[in-house]
Amino acid sequence: MTKIVYQGRSYERLDDETVLRCLLRNDVRAPYSCESGACQSCTMQATSGVIPSNAQEDLKETQKVLGYFKPCVCKPAGDLEVVALDDAHKQKQHLTVVEKSFLNDEILRLRLSSDEPFKYHAGQFINLFKDDLIRSYSLASLPDRDSTLELHIRRVPMGVVSNWLCDDVQVGDQLSVAGPMGECFYHETGNEEGLLAVGTGSGLAPLWGIVRDALAHGFDKPIILCHGGMTPERLYYVDELHQLEKRHDNFSYYPCVSGVDENALPAGISWGFPNDVAFALQPELVKWQLFLCGHPEMVANTKRKAFLQGVALKNIHADPFLPASPPT
């Protein structure tokens, strides 16, 4: 008999019982549907223990890295500690603001330090708390290269949290966060022919992390980054990205602008939405990994178009930046 620890409580698992059946027998209200490993509605995350490989079959590679598994087909040989996906990261911790600077007229860069080790993958996001409000911000930093955590905060008109961060929060202040979360990060499978990163606005934050992470891990196939804004002033990290381009032959960066007359654009900037520019640059994407971050409509349309062109869903990593519901 082995033990299943779920949300901190321990349950004895009978021989030949699945993790899901064990929890249900103990009146844990876990969601499930097909109970055959197909529908993934019962997916959980293991925080400790060995997951049998069949319980991770056909999950995304990034999900496997995070310890996601299907409890309905999981009969572990030993003890397993698991959490529900919703509650996986509710534990709050405090980070200290160590640097505050504006990248353009609407995007603030915050650099934060942590007393405790903060483990994450470049491109994941954290939840940031202000009173009872919660906002998600992507991590732009690299865990093994950058000594601080980096967030890009877009000042949202009337946005309570973003304006507070831009105007009131000072270097030295402590912020309450939980995480990291999200499955939009780099993980080489060995089969991909290239990486395509497409983002709008502060959607560059996770992509800045993901692209540098792939390069730092020696990924030597083509990497294309298309970053879009309405006007040239809305782009940022342009110099940094061009420098990265000079250091790595396999990386190309395309700043894209959609909101001004094509003829009025400075040299070196592509006209149009970054997803359209990307599809024109690289029409053959079947064996590529895609990273899509930013405007929800851009993310949804690009995902669908890429899928219909033959890209496997498992190779499309997306992080739509959903607007917060207005304060009531």
Partner: protein
């Protein structure tokens, strides 16, 4: 008990090969793709996999009641026999593309067909 189509064509691995193909056909089909607007693509793909597994006679726990509840909001939006026929067509085309023999496609079609009344809330 005789082997199910699911076992004959190679079980879970075969369904994994079929699911992207099938979902792509469904999403590209203008007769039915409107029903998928605004849905989460990963969750949809997982549901398509559960559907294929069931149609092929593989392990599943779906009941007629689940089928009714799961599709009631679509029936309200006008889901009818013509849409069900379109899905059946895409199912057949997917299995054919994967080289599944006609008699096994027939078996899968019969299982899928048996859900018609529940799906359409009849």
């Amino acid at each position: 008990m005789s082997q199910s189509v699911y076992e004959k064509i190679g079980g879970d691995a075969a369904v994994n090969a079929a699911v992207d193909l099938f979902y792509r056909k469904v999403l590209a089909d203008d007769r039915i793709n409107g029903f998928f607007d605004g849905t989460d693509m990963e969750k949809q793909a997982a549901k398509q996999k559960a559907f294929l597994t069931m149609a092929l006679g593989g392990p599943n726990n779906y009941t007629g009641e689940d089928m009714r509840k799961g599709h009631a909001h679509l029936v309200e939006r006008g889901l009818n026999d013509s849409h069900f026929d379109a899905v059946m067509e895409n199912l057949g085309a997917t299995l054919k593309e994967l080289g599944v023999p006609d008699d096994l496609i027939g078996e899968a079609a019969a299982i899928a067909e048996s859900t018609r009344n529940d799906v359409l809330g009849k």
